[in-house]
């Protein structure tokens, strides 16, 4: 099993969710995060005082998939989160040792 963690542009979240739904991925966890990479921050002005804000809002999405589905899921996320402009985000893939469903105690891919 693999964990896929993707940092994407907030407005692309619905597209990514729909794309993953198409390939049968039924669950995910998302969080609103802030960060920066190659994309520079934006400027804010309050009463004439200009501030450069380094940290830009992004959405972090976490899903767990079977190992053989990981490549397909990554590709789907990449396609659906793509705009071609700087700041589209990053995708990380990690190995997962174990998954346990709290309600039933099921383990492994049954629990995904």
């Amino acid at each position: 099993m693999k964990k896929i963690e993707a940092i994407i542009k907030p407005f692309k979240l619905d597209d990514v969710k729909d794309a993953l739904d198409e390939i049968g991925i039924r669950g995910m966890t998302i969080s609103e995060v802030k960060g920066y990479g190659r994309q520079k921050g934006h400027q804010e002005i309050y009463r004439g005082a200009e501030y450069v804000v380094d940290f830009i809002p992004k959405v972090k999405l976490e899903i767990i998939v079977e190992a053989e589905q990981a490549a397909q899921a990554v590709e789907k996320i990449r396609e659906s989160a793509y705009t071609g402009k700087i700041g589209d985000g990053k995708i990380f893939v990690f190995p997962v040792e174990e998954v346990i469903r709290v309600r039933t105690g099921e383990r492994g891919k049954e629990a995904i």
């Binding site: 309050y46 009463r47 004439g48």
Partner: protein, 404 residues
């Protein structure tokens, strides 16, 4: 006695009272979320302190029988003899009502100062400062201009309080900024306003209340009040536009905070002129006020003063411009009880206005500075560094504004 005027002045008094919580929201939205309540509290508590001072001796010092043109005596302490009969300031309404109306101005003025030292003043020190400042600075200056004092005798025009309220509070604000120093992190940390919608709403409440402030200063429901009402509206509108367009040109974006700040600068500037100038003059006064105050706010950062919420930039510069503009644009065709200004052939009025501005600035700055120094030596003005980082809401009041 006139029942129509009495009804009008009762409502005007309530409108002016509403400006203080409006100001609390205006300032409250501009600070960081850890200081929202402490900032609101500094305005709100003035409704408590000043109301009591006013009845005890404040009204008497400001409006009681004159001592040497400088201050009133204590004959009216505890409102002795101030009753439902008309007083010396207005034959059409009860003296008690004039006292109530003026009380609301006295409440608002120290609250205006709080914008300068926001996010760093100890609450106990603030209470002592407000008590002393109201007694030693507000009451005398109010007496000079409205209570039969020397500026009034000289013929200075101040329809609704440009010198008494705005220049006066701004000079105290300047003294506070210089004596208290900058907030920790000034210049390299971002001081994000926590709630600009609250600020805009607060600005709207101030604008609304300002009709009571300016139109009410006519002390009668007549033509003069109508003139002041309209000049207030158009000056605020003009200044809203000029501030927004100035920042659009110089910094690339028109901002909502710029719109609210511009409105406030126009309201401040028209205050002394409201019942003396034509609506067209009011538009000019407003247009200039927006740009001037915007420039002042920009200059502040370059000069390195941490006037946190621009009490000096808006109330000081706007107030000075308004008081001088009254000496330029005042016209007896608009108000026969006023005077002509420089543009209507009377340069003397401009000199009188400038004298009023200068005297208020010097007196307020010097006495405010002495009060601040005295409070600093005895109880200390600033919270300690740990409390400042933690935020004044928790450290001074054990509350938080938002629990999200």
């Amino acid at each position: 006695m006139n029942t129509g005027d009495t009804a009008f002045m009762l409502i005007a008094s309530a409108l002016v009272m509403f400006m203080t919580p409006g100001l609390a929201l205006f300032y409250g939205g501009l600070v960081r979320s850890k200081n929202v309540l402490s900032t609101i509290m500094q305005s709100f508590i003035c409704l408590g302190i000043v109301s009591i001072i006013w009845v005890a001796y404040g009204y008497s010092l400001a409006f009681g029988p004159d001592i040497g043109g400088f201050i009133g005596n204590l004959d009216w302490a505890w409102l002795n003899g101030v009753g439902t009969r008309p007083g010396p300031y207005s034959s059409n309404i009860p003296n008690l009502l004039f006292c109530t109306f003026q009380l609301m101005f006295a409440v608002l003025t120290p609250a205006l100062i709080t914008g300068a030292f926001a996010e760093r003043m100890k609450f106990s020190a603030f209470l002592i400062f407000t008590f002393l400042w109201s007694s030693l600075v507000y009451m005398p200056v109010c007496h000079w201009v409205w209570g039969g004092g020397w500026l009034e005798k000289m013929g200075a025009l101040d329809f609704a309080g440009g010198t008494v309220i705005h220049i006066n509070s701004a000079m105290a604000a300047l003294a506070a900024v210089l004596i208290m120093g900058k907030r920790k992190g000034w210049g390299h940390e971002i001081f994000h306003p926590n709630n600009l919608p609250a600020t805009i709403l607060g600005g709207g409440i101030l604008w609304f209340g300002w009709f009571g402030f300016n139109a009410g200063s006519a002390l009668a429901a007549g033509g003069s009040a109508c003139l002041a009402f309209l000049t207030t509206q158009v000056a605020a509108g003009a200044a809203t536009l000029s501030w927004v367009f100035a920042e659009w040109i110089f910094q690339g974006k028109p901002t909502t905070l710029g719109a609210a700040s511009g409105a406030l600068s126009g309201l401040v500037a028209i205050t002394p002129a409201a019942g003396f100038v034509s609506p067209v003059s009011a538009i000019i006064i407003g247009l200039v006020a927006g740009v001037l105050c915007y420039m002042a706010v920009l200059a502040k950062s370059r000069l390195g003063y941490d006037d946190a919420l621009d009490a000096v930039g808006v109330h000081g510069i706007g107030g000075i411009w308004g008081a001088l503009a009254t000496g330029l644009f005042a016209s007896v065709t608009m108000n026969p009880h006023g005077a002509n200004g420089l543009f209507f052939g009377n340069p003397h009025q401009f000199v009188v206005q400038a004298t009023g501005v200068g005297a208020t600035m010097i007196y307020s700055f010097v006495v405010s500075a002495i009060i601040l120094k005295a409070v600093d030596i005895t109880v200390g003005l600033r919270v300690n560094i740990e409390e400042e980082v933690q935020g004044l809401d928790i450290s001074q009041h054990s509350e938080v504004g938002y629990s999200l």
